[in-house]
């Protein structure tokens, strides 16, 4: 058990290092170095060659690629992602609070979405093929087919413009405490929730349908155990375990959804910084945001893997 758990942790670390290397290659080696990326071709042509060389030297870009990669990895471990190219502020200072704020939003969504999706998924699977089930299946397809920014905009139109009970954009500032932030952003939370519940409920319904149709549930029914005990104590754990492995896709899509929703509502999170970073071509900011959110996804996956190890003894042999 311990060895299997350690193996999972090690694999996650390897994945993360590979991700860091990949992010570095995609942004700084393939298209040229950080300076080539942040300046346009016209700007580079305007700058005299001596000054360009001096700028590269200042930024440490005259060193060979593998040295810069090592420096990047070294920095990433200590959460030092370098400085921005224009204002020279440390990247970690720029993304620190936004990262916290995005995590708060994600946490709030997960806390509400998981119990609701469980209830909906179980109900749909229990009454499989009946009206409830059709409603849930159709509703969830519609739920994840509508883009998040459309859901968000429609919610603003309904609850901030037509019937103004909530603010349209978030008034809280970046460094406000968690509860102030959440209290001022009910529409943002609701927007991410709709897509998340649609996705998770569908996933759990499938797992639950399989579990309820399996041989061991049939055998339990023959022993005369009350149906509610079978559903909640026996079928549910068997349905949750396979659903946990699908968490990778969900975690990644949750982050994508949050990035977009933050921009709809001007929520002070990573999404804002990301778009600002891309439009100003601040390579280091984009790298840091990509690495941080990938780390969150990898960590969530590791948690799911460890939970499966604890819940399902069959996986411990691997």
């Amino acid at each position: 058990m311990l060895i299997a758990a350690l193996r999972r942790v090690l694999l996650s670390v390897i994945t993360l290092v590979m991700l860091a290397v990949f992010i570095f290659i995609a942004t700084e080696i393939m298209p040229g170095d950080a300076l080539d990326v942040s300046l346009s071709a016209d700007e580079i042509a305007m700058i005299p060659p001596e000054r360009l060389a001096k700028m590269k030297q200042d930024l440490g870009l005259d060193r060979p690629a593998h040295e810069r990669l090592l420096a990047f990895l070294n920095g990433a471990i200590t959460l030092d992602f370098g400085k921005t190219l224009i204002s020279k502020t440390p990247v970690s200072a720029i993304i620190g609070y936004p990262l916290r704020n995005s995590l708060i939003l994600a946490g709030a969504v997960l806390l509400i979405a998981i119990p609701l999706a469980l209830a909906i998924g179980i109900a749909a699977a229990f009454w499989k093929g009946r009206a409830v089930d059709h409603l849930v299946s159709t509703g969830s397809i519609i739920g994840y087919s509508i883009p998040e920014f459309v859901i968000g905009t429609i919610l603003v139109m309904l609850f901030a413009v037509a019937w103004p009970i909530f603010p349209a954009t978030i008034t809280a500032s970046t460094r406000d405490p968690a509860l102030t932030l959440l209290a001022s952003s009910p529409l943002a939370v609701a927007t991410v929730l709709i897509g998340s519940i649609a996705y998770l409920a569908r996933l759990l319904r499938t797992g639950m349908v399989d579990a309820l149709a399996s041989d061991f549930v049939e055998r339990l029914r023959l022993t005369g155990i009350p149906e509610w005990r079978i559903v909640f104590l026996h079928a549910l754990p068997a349905a949750v375990v396979p659903s946990l492995t699908a968490l990778a896709l969900y975690a990644a899509s949750l982050v994508s959804g949050i990035v977009v929703v933050e921009l709809v509502f001007a929520y002070p999170g990573l999404g804002q910084e990301l778009v600002r970073g891309v439009t100003r071509r601040e390579v280091h900011v984009v790298q840091a945001i990509a690495l941080c959110s990938a780390a969150v996804v990898v960590a969530l996956n590791l948690l799911a893997d460890l939970a499966i190890l604890m819940l399902d003894p069959r996986t411990r042999r691997a």
Binding site: T27, E28, S140, L203, L249, S253, V255, S256, A290, S293
Partner: protein, 280 residues
């Protein structure tokens, strides 16, 4: 085939989906002939109310909104379909190759797939847009790559099952080369699976393109696109809400249509692909 079509007609949601897709594709194809006005021409009358001449009024720069709405899906649909095609074909071949060869090649590819799946797609696109600049080719390439990862997984799982089949063993005994077996024997046998994957990935790619356009990182102005049209409509959310509602309705009905159709068809083909894991 006739039985298949008969069964299809008994599923109202699937038919609705196919109808929506047909309408949207028809409009996107015929849009250049349908538009009553030049979608890029500035009419010097921004945010006009709808009239008999300008059916949905004009946008914030004074361009005919109805014409822009008709054209607003073109680029996204082409980009998403190209990405879906790259993903389905590339992913299918690579997935089958890993199933055929196994060993180190399989391990390396699987690790790479897992790694890619843990970067949220919006971030991956942002990385490449920062590095290579904002262009349609970059967008299609990156999206193709992103969605290929999921297809590799599905195709690999199916390929491992197919490897046990008699016709693959027979081809091996005939001494056919690996690429011939993968392309001629295995690929046709997962054609239905890859078709469904193509549709699923195209719908995900559509969502991604429109989100990127909304963020200002996708289709660049002045080309009309539903995502960026919703973004600019936010300025007049109180006075002219239809500038948001019309493109929102278009993109939503298109993606809902694709997903309804795909789910029904996949179900009829007896494929597991309809089981909700549409990915990001």
């Amino acid at each position: 085939m006739r039985l298949f079509i008969q069964r299809l007609f008994r599923r109202p949601l699937t038919m609705l989906g196919l109808l929506l897709v047909a309408i949207h594709f028809g409009i996107a194809l015929a849009a250049p002939w349908l538009t009553p006005h030049d979608p890029l021409k500035l009419l010097d009358a921004p945010l006009e109310q709808p009239t008999g001449v300008y059916w949905l009024g004009t946008d914030e720069l004074g361009r005919d909104f109805f014409s822009r709405l008709l054209l607003g899906g073109q680029i996204s649909i082409v980009a998403a379909a190209c990405a879906g095609l790259i993903a389905a074909f590339g992913g299918g071949i690579i997935g089958l190759a890993t199933a055929y060869h196994r060993g180190l090649f399989d391990d390396v590819v699987s690790r790479f797939v897992e790694m890619k799946l843990s970067i949220p797609s919006i971030l991956l696109v942002s990385l490449f847009v920062t590095g290579f600049g904002q262009s349609l080719a970059v967008l299609i390439g990156v999206m193709g790559l992103i969605y290929m990862m999921g297809v590799i997984r599905t195709a690999r799982a199916q390929g491992i099952l197919i490897m046990e089949q008699g016709y693959v063993k027979a081809a091996k005994l005939r001494g056919e080369s690996a690429s011939a077996i993968i392309l001629r024997e295995m690929l046709p046998n997962i054609a239905d699976l890859l078709t469904v994957e193509f549709a699923l990935r195209t719908s995900s790619a559509l969502l991604l393109v429109s989100a990127l356009s909304f963020l200002g990182l996708g289709v660049s102005p002045p080309t009309p696109d539903w995502g960026s049209m919703i973004q600019s409509g936010l300025q007049s959310i109180r006075s002219e809400p239809w500038l948001i509602l019309a493109p929102a309705l278009c993109i939503s009905t298109l993606v809902i249509g694709i997903n309804f159709a795909t789910e029904g068809v996949a179900d009829l083909l007896g494929l597991e692909a309809a089981r909700g894991a549409t990915g990001q």
